[in-house]
């Protein structure tokens, strides 16, 4: 909700303080909206996981939890670098902030790279519902499922792609914003009085991290591993 402006104080606010409060509140309202946005999918997930637990378990075993755990670590790392970027920006250390932002971008990209590898694997194994779903004779044994459960596996993978896809989309939107902020930070736009954009983007990035914190156990670690 950060409004780009060359002079930080916009005409309709009476003080930078008020402007920053408004931005923070706006960002939080936006995040609340995001919670419910992902919430729709989490609800579908909860319902179906309960109805078709064994199918979900079998499908979950097909995912590579090591990649998932690695990505979780990467994303947590990026959250740390993001927090440090906000910290640096708030102290007016533009260069440091820029570097931390760059690190965040780097970690975010690694995460997305791993996701590409995983998606590719699904493509190879024909595990993309609708788009590229293999014949039951192949998919069934691969997932250790038989009969109509193979069809139900599509439910799991629809949710898998829906949820991780939406999550990845949020990161893809976040990274260019981070890049732009890094540039601004480097150029010295942020001061001890005014570093709201970095702080707001930080909130967004941490939120994306939180979504993944839930997705990892819910998708990769169902049942006994």
């Amino acid at each position: 909700m950060s409004e780009a402006h060359s002079t930080p104080l916009q005409h309709h606010f009476t003080s930078l303080e008020q402007q920053k409060d408004a931005a923070t509140l706006g960002m939080w309202a936006f995040l609340v909206q995001e919670v419910l946005f992902f919430g729709g999918m989490f609800t579908a997930y909860t319902v179906y996981r309960n109805q078709h637990y064994s199918v979900f378990e079998a499908c979950s075993h097909h995912l590579d939890w090591k990649l998932g755990a690695f990505n979780t670590a990467v994303l947590i790392g990026s959250s740390l670098t993001m927090a440090l970027a906000v910290h640096a920006a708030a102290l007016g250390k533009g260069r440091a902030a820029a570097l931390w932002l760059a690190a965040t971008i780097g970690l975010g990209s690694i995460f997305l790279g791993v996701k590409v590898v995983e998606y590719h694997e699904k493509w190879e194994h024909q595990l993309i519902p609708g788009l590229r779903w293999g014949p039951a004779e192949e998919v069934g044994p691969a997932l250790h499922l038989s009969g109509a459960d193979v069809d139900r596996a599509q439910l799991y993978f629809s949710l898998y792609f829906g949820m991780t896809g939406l999550h990845a989309l949020h990161m893809i939107i976040g990274i260019p914003i981070l890049a732009w902020l890094a540039w601004r930070a480097w150029a010295g736009h942020f001061t001890t009085e005014y570093s709201t954009p970095v702080e707001m983007t930080g909130l967004y990035w941490h939120f994306v991290d939180i979504v993944w914190i839930f997705l990892f156990p819910l998708l990769y670690l169902i049942g006994h591993h």
């Binding site: 309709h12 729709g40 439910l155 629809s158 829906g162």
Partner: protein, 543 residues
Amino acid sequence: MSAASETRQLPREHYLNAEYGWRSWLFTIDHKRIAILYLASITVAFFIGGAYATAIRLELVTPPGDLVLSESYNKLFTMHGIYMIFFFLIPSIPATLGNFLIPLMIGAKDLAFPRINLLSWYLYVIGLLFVLYSTAHGGLDTGWTFYTPYSTQFSHTAVNSAAVGIFIAGFSSILTGLNFIVTIHKMRAPGLTWFRLPLFVWAHYATSIIQILGTPVVAVTILLVALERIFHFGFFDPNRGGDPILFQHLFWFYSHPAVYIMILPSMGVVSELVTCFSRKKVFGYNFIAASSLAIAVIGFLVWGHHMFITGQSVYAGMVFSALSFLVAIPSAIKVFNWTATLYRGSVSWQTPMLYAFGFIGLFTIGGLTGLFLATLGMDVHVTDTYFVVAHFHYIMVGGAIMGYLGGLHYWWPKITGRLYQEWWARVSAVLIFAGFNLTFLPQFVLGYLGMPRRYHYYPDEFQVLNVMSSAGASILAIGYVLPMIYLAWSMRYGAIASSNPFDATGLEWRTPSPPPTHNFPGTPVVEEEVYDYASPRKEALLV
């Protein structure tokens, strides 16, 4: 109104003449101009929706489907519902009157995020364009409710583009709500405490809560439908173990609260009207304010009352029914307080007040028939019949639109700086009221007799009532076209309005009509209590 208005002059500079040219409109970040942009676009949507309604009522004059094919009829009511709900009624009051007035009422120069305000209008327009594109490709036939698996697997109409359009328009609504919440929290003028806020602002605050908490869920649900259609993902496919009823849960989690998005702002308008035209402080201010919040919150717990006969668990049905009754109480509180406000007042019968009367009466009927539907054993018979159609038109057309028109008339002098012609305005208000009742009262009877909704053909015995309804609809149509004409006429030829033509309280009446771009000369300081009608009016803040 008086002789004074002939000699009166518009302020030399105001938001309308501050800049000229299309750029000054399309790139404006002035909330008042954005409100005008919205006003124009929702009017278009309303008349498109109305054209569909006209076609529906024409078709239903005779029992056999002799005017259009069944395929087309199904598209008629779907497009009617989509334009009316998503592109007219949901943005109607918040995006026009709310946008225009909230900063004025709280003594701010603008909304907290002016650019996001403009963005929200663009999202609305892009959403609308997608739906128009879908219309150009024949439209869609899923009903505005998009029930699966029909919408995902069986409909071969232009569903995808409309789904994308609604998805985008949803974010327009979310951003409006977000903007209002932050504005109301952070931009109030000094001295303007929460309990000095006009009830219009309270109502919008409650509305915004719903917009932020509810809309994202319908957005993602529509997205799932689109993914299922486009990529053949299977979220609700019974052949893959999916549950079509889950779709309904997700859809109504938003769409029930959404009905309060449509009615709460209208209630806010009526609160303003009733107090101003009784020239008396509104009765039970705290209760009206709190009931808005109560409606917004409890409204989230009742969605399952749309699903009593789907095979939803009877126990869940019971809980949803009980909670639906609970949400009626705050609505009742409002109605009673409005009525009590008139007691010992000085009641003026000017046009906006006529609309407020209409609202109170018709909303009461609409709301009470909502209780029929919330009553488990009753709903089984009347669900999916014209009884439901009558219920929601009573609330949305009889209630919400009456409030919208009342508000539009009330603040019209503020928005344009000119007065409309009172005689024509009253005639239209009466026409609308009469036409409305003739259109929709017979539908309650039809519904109880068992005529299902979304029916192209119907048995002969239902014809009389259908003809009555269609006759009423034509009166209603005239009633809606008239304000278009005289309001447009007044923009050029109407008498010039003073800054406070209705002798009302509130900050918006203390700035010139039309207001200057930055609303107030400085930041106003509020010392008086809200709706202080007993004291002499404060004079205008001079620019």
